[in-house]
Amino acid sequence: MNEFLTHYAYLIVPIVKIAILVFIILTVDAYLTWIERKVIAHLQARWGPHRVGPHGLLQPLADGVKFIFKEDPMPANVDKAAYFLAPFITLMLALTSLAVIPFAPQHFTVFGYETGIGIADVNISLLVLFAITALGVYGVALAGWASNNKYSLLGGLRSSAQMISYELALTLSVVGVLLIAGDFSLRKIVDQQAGSGHGLISWNIFPQIIGFVCFFIAAIAETNRVPFDLPEAESELVAGFHTEYASMKFAMFFIAEYTSMITISCLATIMFFGGWLSPFPASWTFTQYLPSVLLIPFGLWVIFDGIRYENMFGRMLLPVVGGALTAIGVALVIFPVFNDAIQGIFWFLTKVFAFLFVYIWMRGTLPRFRYDQLMSFGWKFLLPVSIANVILTSVVILWRMH
């Protein structure tokens, strides 16, 4: 058995990693919907979901069950092959793009097979990511076309036009980072931002602030989120390209959207915000206890909140969750080995979560663009600015070399 594992480790380890990552991502997607609904609700002075489980925490589970058991009608005269293929393509590409993201600096060896945290460590990971995003247009375009519905077709066309237009700006906006790092590998891009250990001053965000602004705007458009969610503008196009999709097929588009939000947030973190690097100088060793400092009070607050919760189920569940969080926080203080190990992943997740929060925040704040505004903004403003950023960065790098 052990020999078998050692021999086929190059196959088994990635498969196990993929299974774990897909499980984690799907769970995060589910809870992202809960966070989104809660945050937007509070922005609009409402409560948001609060019926299923304490604070509506089991709402994603209920939604999942609903999606699985809902009837899945197929409209007449759809192009069957393309209609079925579209949600699969969309979801598959969204999940695949996560494969090249490195989540933490550690390397470990399982059955004599050295591997990192993250599925594939390719040395052109950024190009792979863009290649997969480039294919993402097909899912949307096909869904719109195959549904044989005018709203769907218009939504699909709009969205593919939008994705093509903003893909250019997205790709050009990271060229500045590539010029600084001199490498396509996301891991090397993060390592280069470590600088000489002075924390956040060597991150790419400072020399590349223009690039970052272009990147983030283009990324929101690329993921079809507010204020660029024209493909699904309810008042004009019903639900856009997924009007004719129901049940699990609709859920696939939904999961894909949230997964690409996560991917883009990871990418923004890696390219501009130092990935898993701590923002503090390396000499400030006391900042290592930040995870515990956050976890313990939060856990205690959850316990306190849980004890006086209105129903029995909440009074039972919330203290357990809070107790677990507090216990993790305490364990991190007691065992410095664990604390060192989670530093990278802690900072990475914190930054990714901050980006996801900005996404949701914008959804609760900004109105939608008009379609012609969107196109002229992308082509006449974003693209020239990102090209200018490339030229500016190259000139500065060349000037420094001489």
Binding site: L127, I132, L135, A141, L142, L153, A161
Partner: protein
Amino acid sequence: MSAQVIIFFVLAALAVLAAINLIVQRHPIHSALSLIVVMVALAGLYLLMGAEFVAAVQIIVYGGAIMVLFIFVIMLLNAGEEERTNFSKLALYGGIPLAVAVTGLIAASIVNSSTATALPPAQPVTLTSTRTLSHLLFTEFVYPFELTSFLILVAILGAIVLAQREN
């Protein structure tokens, strides 16, 4: 058989099947989709040869940009299914012998080369890496490279002129 050989045959079979499907399908969208599969399978083959940059660019440019245009045009024109006409005389008497001849030629050249030098050893990855490729493009092949960019620029200008003519 090593894993590489297995992957090669899977990708090659995928490319050939998708190419056949491209011709057999009657709906333009299905044909275009098959063409995308061919492009992606070819990118996989490039990757297998260690040409990672070429593989990524193949997907970004051909799979992403060019084929999206194809799909766009087909969707905008709302092209319906092709009518199957009577089998053309030209296709029967000209096409089939031509296809057989081309296949024979390719097969013959493969047989000839494999008897002489066997398979060329897999290129070391460092040789085709992105850095080497860009270095070659901007030193040794800089004139062809710049000329091609110029050609593309002319084509873009031409497209704009053609599009503007009606106004």
